[in-house]
Symmetry: C2
Subunit: 271 residues, 2 copies
C-alpha cells in the first residue's frame, strides 16, 4: 500500500499524533480513476467544512495539490486522506502552533459482486445506535467506534451493509453509506443535524435530482418511512448506488427511480 | 519522552493502525511514583472491562507486565497506555487475527499550582455537550473529540477544569476528571450509564467512603444538585482531588468532607 505523510513517502507516524491519541482529525475516502480523484471538489469542500467545525487550520490548497499528485501516481483505486490536528504532548488542549498532519494511503479499487448493483443488497439490522451529537454530525471525523461496533455485529456475506438508527430509533444511514427512501416519485434522505456522515454522493444526488425533475426531501426518517417506501437504496462515493431489496421483514423491488439515480452515479464514477 | 510499542522502544506507529483510522482502542493514564504504577489494579480492571466492551482480545497479563517494567524505568511521572485493536486494511471490519497493539508513553509528573489543592479551582462552563451513547459510556476509549472541543473553549488559566453536561443538560463530569457533589454529609456523583468516563479515582472514593461512614449516591445529577451542594470537588488518578470553589454564578466553600476525601486521595497517590 502506497502512503505519504506530509507529502513524503512513509509507512509510519509519530506516536505523539493527536489522531492516534484522541481521534482528533478527519478523513476522506476518494475513488480514483485514470489518475483522477472523482467527486474531488465535493470531497475538498466537505473537508473544508469539517476543518472549520473542528477548528483545524489546514492549508487546503496544499492538501488538494498533494491529493492530485497522489492520485496520478495511484492511477486507479481508492485514495484515503487522514488529516489530523498534528502532534502534541499529553492533554486535550492542542499545542500552540501544531501543524496539521496529512496522511495519504492508496489501495486497489474494491471489487463488489455485480449482483449488488443489479439485484440489490440486504441490510443488516444493527443494534449499535448512533449517538446524537450536533457538534460532530455530518462531518467525517476520526471518532468511528460506533461504525466499528456496528460492522462487527455481522459476519455473514448475506448482508452487504448494515442500517444504523440513532439513539431515538430513527433510521439514519448505512455503516458505509447514506440511505435514500423513494416514495411517490420523491427522494427522501435523513437529515444529519444530530448524527451521521453527510456523504459526498448523497450531496451530489440531492443536487442533481431536482434538475432531473425529481423532488428531494431532507428530514428525519421513521421506521414507517421504510415500511411505506416504494424503493430504497444506499450510496457512497466509491461504489455509487446499490438498490436495497431487504431489511428485517421488509422487502422492496428494484424500482425505476433507483435505476435513474444509478445512472447518475455511474456517470460520476464511470464504473 | 520515552515510548515503547509492543514492548520495544519506538517513536512511531504503522499507518495501518486502527487507533489512528477510527480511534479503535482504549487508553489509561497512570501516575507513577518510585517506579510503581499507582492505583494499578483499578487501572488494569477498567482496561479489562473496556476491552470486553469493545471486543478487543488483549493479553492483559502481558500488558500488566509491560507496564510494570515501563513504570520501573520511568520511576516518576505519568505513564500512558494506548491499546488499539491493531492494524488492518481499509474498512471498519477488523482484520481476522489482528493483534492488539500496545503503546506506552512516559511523561514527567505534571506540576499543579498548590492553590488548586488548597483553595480550590473554578470550573469553566463548557458549551460542548456529551452525547449519550450507552455502548461507549464509562470506558476510556480513544474517541475523544468531545473533550478536545470542550478543552478548546477556554484559554485563560482562571479555569483549571471545565464542567461538561450531557445533551439533555445534566452535569456529568470535568473534561479531565469526575465530579462529586457533597450534600448533607453524602457524596453524590453522576451515574455514567449514558456518557462520561468512569474514573479510577472515582471508583476508589466510592469504595472507600462507606468504610469511613460516608454515604455515597450514584445517580443522574441536575443543575439544582449543584445549586444545593454544600461542597463540590473534582478528582482524577493523577492529581487526586481539587475542591471546586466556583462555577458560573455559583460558589462553594472548601468544606470538611472534601478535606477528608483529599486525605484519602493523598494516601493513594502519596503526593
Amino acid at each position: 500500500m502506497t502512503a505519504w505523510v506530509d507529502g513524503q513517502p512513509a509507512d509510519s507516524l509519530a506516536l505523539a499524533n493527536r489522531g492516534l491519541a484522541y481521534g482528533d482529525g478527519l478523513f476522506e475516502t476518494i475513488a480514483v480513476r485514470a489518475g483522477q480523484p472523482l467527486l474531488f471538489d465535493r470531497h475538498v469542500q466537505r473537508l473544508a467544512v469539517s476543518c472549520q467545525r473542528l477548528g483545524i487550520e489546514a492549508d487546503l490548497a496544499l492538501i488538494r495539490a498533494e491529493m492530485t499528485r497522489f492520485a496520478r501516481q495511484l492511477d486507479a483505486g481508492v485514495m484515503k486522506l487522514i488529516l489530523t490536528r498534528g502532534d502534541s504532548q499529553r492533554g486535550y488542549a492542542p499545542a500552540a502552533g501544531a501543524a496539521p498532519r496529512r496522511i495519504l494511503q492508496g489501495s486497489p479499487a474494491p471489487v463488489y459482486p455485480a449482483g449488488h448493483f443489479a439485484q440489490g443488497v440486504r441490510l443488516y439490522e444493527c443494534q449499535t445506535r448512533l449517538a446524537e451529537q450536533p457538534l460532530l454530525a455530518g462531518i467525517k471525523h476520526l471518532n468511528r467506534l460506533e461504525q466499528v461496533l456496528a460492522r462487527a455485529e455481522w459476519q455473514t456475506p448475506e448482508f452487504a451493509e448494515g442500517l444504523m438508527r440513532d439513539t431515538s430509533g430513527r433510521p439514519v444511514e448505512g455503516v458505509y453509506s447514506n440511505l435514500f427512501v423513494v416514495r411517490d416519485g420523491r427522494l427522501i434522505t435523513a437529515d444529519l443535524q444530530r448524527c451521521g456522515v453527510a456523504g459526498v454522493m448523497r450531496a451530489e444526488l440531492l443536487d442533481q435530482a431536482p434538475t432531473l425533475g425529481i423532488a428531494v426531501e431532507v428530514r428525519d426518517l421513521s421506521m414507517s418511512d421504510l415500511e411505506q417506501a416504494d424503493e430504497l437504496f444506499v450510496c457512497n462515493s466509491v461504489y455509487g448506488i446499490w438498490p436495497v431489496r431487504g431489511f428485517a421483514q421488509l422487502n422492496w423491488p428494484v424500482g425505476p427511480l433507483t435505476r435513474r439515480m444509478q445512472a447518475v452515479a455511474y456517470a460520476l464514477l464511470g464504473s
